[in-house]
């Protein structure tokens, strides 16, 4: 297991390297630079700025310099928010985005699995159809539509919750978290229902039932665990969905998280900030995929990644 984990982590390095390389050259090809402004700067100042940030060097040199910088965990100075380093900006924005994302993920997992399992136990009955239709609606309504609708209902019409802004309080976090969680609840409910139905039809469940085990035990002890495998593998895409969702949610609810930085950074040609956020996102997605594989191995003894060695 340990060997597998180490090998798996090592294989993430080329992926991350590819990510950094592609993103670096892509954003440099973009027309315009970080110091373009409405008012043209005198050429001397422009030259000085370029020299200060090494923008006058050949691109390959800049790339090598950047790689060396990242290797020391330094993401460099922001080109747009002067006096800020990218590390500082990310350290400020990331906790906010992570709080929202993790809350949404936990809520979605708990509710999604519960709803999906509940529907599976009532397969093809009206309750099942109703719940699954709602799930389909949840999947079909994009978060950038859901968010304004929630604001319209809860903030403008009912006046129960604030429409935007940020502080660590339940009332400020409620709408963004719900917006992020709703489509995921729907996805997870659908996945859980499907796999639960499959598991409930398998022969070992019939055996357990035939032996007279109470239905509650059958479901909680024998059916739920294998039925969760597809949900686990959804966690990878879910992480990516939360990251992109956060871009929208942070914009609509005016939350100063890293999603906001990314779009603003790309528009401002804030090279280092964009790179920093892309790298962070890449690491999160790689970590989540890694976590999924480990959980999988733990839940399903048939898939133990043991490199050919027998594992006790």
């Amino acid at each position: 297991m340990l060997r597998y984990s180490l090998r798996r982590l090592a294989s993430a390095i080329p992926t991350l390297f590819l990510l950094i390389t592609v993103a670096f050259f892509l954003i440099r090809i973009a027309p315009g630079g970080p110091f373009d402004s409405e008012r043209a700067l005198p050429p001397e100042i422009e030259a000085n700025l370029a020299a200060k940030y090494h923008l006058d060097e050949p691109l390959v040199f800049q790339y090598a310099r950047y790689l060396w910088q990242i290797a020391r965990l330094d993401l460099g100075p922001s080109f747009h928010y002067l006096d800020w380093t990218v590390n500082d900006l990310i350290l400020q924005g990331a906790p906010i985005s992570f709080t929202l994302g993790i809350l949404a993920l936990v809520i979605a997992l708990v509710l999604g699995v519960a709803i999906g399992a509940w529907a599976a136990l009532r397969q093809n009955r009206p309750a099942d159809y109703t719940v699954m239709s709602f799930a389909m609606i949840g999947i079909s309504i994009p978060n950038f539509v859901m968010a304004p609708l929630l604001i319209l209902l809860f903030a403008i019409t009912l006046g129960w919750l604030p429409a935007g802004g940020w502080e660590y309080s339940p009332s400020r976090m409620a709408l963004p978290v719900v917006t992020l969680a709703l489509p995921m609840i729907a996805y997870i409910a659908r996945i859980t229902r499907g796999s639960m139905i499959e598991v409930l039809h398998s022969s070992y469940i019939r055996t357990v039932r035939a032996k007279g085990m109470p239905e509650k035990e059958v479901i909680l002890r024998h059916a739920l665990k294998p039925a969760l495998l597809p949900v686990i593998s959804y966690l990878g895409p879910a992480a990516a969905a939360i990251l992109t969702g956060s871009v929208v949610v942070e914009r609509i609810f005016t939350i100063p998280g890293i999603g906001t930085y990314f779009v603003q950074g790309a528009l401002n040609r804030d090279y280092t900030l964009v790179m920093g956020v892309v790298i962070l996102y890449g690491i999160i997605i790689i970590l989540f995929n890694f976590l999924v594989d480990l959980l999988y191995a733990w839940l399903d003894p048939r898939i133990r990644y043991d490199d050919g060695e027998a594992e006790a």
């Binding site: 993430a12 080329p14 992926t15 590819l18 990510l19 592609v22 993103a23 892509l26 954003i27 090809i29 973009a30 027309p31 389909m136 609606i137 999947i139 079909s140 309504i141 994009p142 950038f144 539509v145 968010a147 304004p148 609708l149 604001i151 319209l152 403008i156 139905i197 499959e198 039809h201 990516a240 990251l243 992109t244 871009v247 929208v248 914009r251 609509i252 990314f262 779009v263 790309a266 528009l267 964009v274 956020v277 892309v278 996102y281 890449g282 997605i285 790689i286 995929n289």
Partner: protein, 301 residues
């Protein structure tokens, strides 16, 4: 040969042809039994016709404002069925034009990802061995990247040109297709009927044309139906962020963005485009689900 017998003969040939494709005829019948999928299909047909014909029936243009009506609610009297936006443009026509763009981008981007994905996946699966290994490693590496952020970067880099939107989306969205097609090809390649065809002296080209491609079709159809709504969603997302379609053209995402900004004063400018977008995605998802059940009998319980 007299005419009647020849007709009968040709007719017999025709029926044989149909019987030969019975997998798809079967699937079609199964699809028609699935109410949700049929509803999806009908809704999509209506949506496409409405979006194409709607702007022609209206007296308004999607660019030219009606100077007498700014931000007016939907009403029959003014002739603005869906109301007008903040600068007096008719929202019915704008929603229809936006729908044209959203659907067009959805179709074309899916086509791009289809071509790249099927070719790549089929080649990898068919070659197998080391070539397959390398090709799939590459897909894995790209797969681990934050997809949406690359689309955003591409949009920023190449400017907000509508043709680049679907190229960018399609060029990144082919990975799933490649994986699915590769897996399918790999398993088909070793099936007994392919072996049998080879034993009977069929050439590689014949095997690919007669046995591999027809058997891939089902998976590809299902996947295309499920990719189109995804792509529409990505385009809307980009337009929502202001990175997608630019004025005077519009798309559902761009309209939702405008609507969201006038939420308090003109909720209808959000409701109509949002409703159309959601209904379309809904219909595609139902159709895709139905097709998957119809074309893959294994999955049915």
């Amino acid at each position: 040969m007299t005419e009647p017998t020849r007709d009968a003969f040709e007719q017999a040939l025709d029926t044989r042809e149909i019987r030969g494709r019975s997998l798809y005829v079967d699937a079609w019948h199964r699809l028609l039994k699935n109410k949700a999928a049929v509803v999806g299909l009908v809704v999509l047909a209506i949506m496409i016709v409405l979006v194409l014909v709607g702007p022609m029936l209206s007296q308004w243009d999607h660019e030219i404002p009606d100077w007498d009506h700014y931000s007016t609610p939907p009403s029959l009297e003014t002739g603005h069925l869906f109301g007008t936006d903040a600068i007096g443009r008719d929202l019915f026509v704008r929603t229809m034009i936006g729908g044209q763009i959203s659907l067009l981008v959805g179709l074309l981007a899916t086509l791009v990802s289809l071509i790249i994905g099927v070719t790549y996946g089929a080649v990898a699966g068919y070659l197998g061995g080391r070539a397959d290994n390398i090709m799939m490693r590459f897909v894995d590496a790209v797969y681990a990247m934050p997809f949406m952020f690359f689309v955003i970067l591409l949009m920023v880099v190449f400017g907000r040109n509508i043709f680049l939107i679907f190229l960018a989306i399609g060029a990144i969205n082919w990975l799933d297709m490649a994986r699915i097609v590769r897996g399918q090809t790999l398993s088909l390649k070793n099936k007994d009927f392919v072996e049998a065809a080879r034993a009977c002296g069929a050439t590689e080209a014949q095997v690919i044309r007669r046995h591999i491609i027809p058997n891939l079709l089902g998976v590809v159809i299902v996947y295309v139906t499920l990719t189109i709504p995804q792509v529409i969603l990505v385009e809307s997302f980009l337009s929502f962020l202001g990175l997608g379609v630019q004025e005077p053209l519009t798309s559902w995402g761009a309209l939702v963005n405008e609507g969201a900004q006038e939420l308090e004063t003109a909720p209808w400018s959000l409701m109509f485009p949002a409703g159309f977008l959601a209904v379309t995605l809904f219909a595609f998802n139902f159709l895709g689900d139905g097709l998957r059940d119809a074309l893959d009998p294994k999955d049915r319980l």
